[in-house]
Symmetry: C2
Subunit: 194 residues, 2 copies
Amino acid sequence: MFRIARLPKKDRQTRLVQSLADNPFATDEDLAELFHVSIQTIRLDRLELGIPELRERIKSVAEKSLDPVKSLGIEEVIGEIIDLQLDSQAISVLEIKEEHVFSKTQIARGHYIFAQANSLAVAVINADVALTATARIRFVRPVRIGEKLVAKAVVRSRDGDECKVRVETKVQGELVFTATFRVVEMTVAQNRHE
Amino acid sequence: MFRIARLPKKDRQTRLVQSLADNPFATDEDLAELFHVSIQTIRLDRLELGIPELRERIKSVAEKSLDPVKSLGIEEVIGEIIDLQLDSQAISVLEIKEEHVFSKTQIARGHYIFAQANSLAVAVINADVALTATARIRFVRPVRIGEKLVAKAVVRSRDGDECKVRVETKVQGELVFTATFRVVEMTVAQNRHE
DNA sequence: TACTGTTTTGGTACCTGGTATTAAAAACAG
DNA sequence: CTGTTTTTAATACCAGGTACCAAAACAGTA
């Protein structure tokens, strides 16, 4: 009888963490088989690593998914705003991932690029409520999966409750998209009809 | 000693279903207390109603949330295409739901309206790959939650691999958004780099 | 009132996937 | 070869059940 090669403790534990990360549903028994060790060893490992038992793991996944915060399909603002000077300028970053591209070509769908620019244009306006009225946009070159879009919005002019906002989106300094938005502020009175 | 009012079986069971719908984490014991009956009664009820035990309920919630299908922010095409005549015209419908609006005002975010129009403009083009090059768009009036957007795209002109597509979006016949896209077809040769 | 059917309880044995603890065996290192 | 680390084993116990059986409690009615 020959025994199967076992990993050293350290290695096993790092693999265990990985393993549970992409399959939180594994029981200790499953893991024991996977690593060719006894159930007790797995339990010791979990103890040392502070990993909770199966049921707790599943529960926490379920709780997260039921959390109202997450369930908003898209975040409040598309892209992460990293600089914001109200009524002046703002910058946001968006990394193009699999869910943003055409599966056939791996090229980003235009409306995500637009969404980043549009939500930035709306966010930069110093008003309770701001809505896009018109826009002229240009896709300079296709954007591919993995590229990081940096959008910069600048408020160009202001006339009463209307602003012109210019947004330029670049990938590593290279211009890929431009847009000019006319954004209007709205009084909440709008809410009267209903 | 007076006993607390109990519901008839039928009522209890319908309430039980509701109760578990908005809190799948309740144990039989919790439910027994809630309805002032014994644990066994709850179990009989679950049996009759075909409701699985706590752990299975939690598990299924967790599985759903880990399902790769759900995690795609926006669907492949925004809105449901109900008519499509390639290179000529197309129509899609999108109902504005909670996830599409600003929570403060219940008004639809511009980029969803744009996304519906943009993906329709791209879909109507009879080509392997079509990308938006430029667009001029106008939001005629704000769109509110619950409204059904009907977008109609018409191919206006064609010049080699470039098309002009006009999209008008209406709610019950009332114009709320217009856009003119310049869409280009792409040869897959684009994929050469990388 | 006594009989009958439904509904509710109670109790027991058993299951899964653990925790907690103690102890022995094996592996490895100096 | 001894000391330490690592791995196994064994046992008692827990939550939240399933499956099953029998005793109550209640309601209607002949």
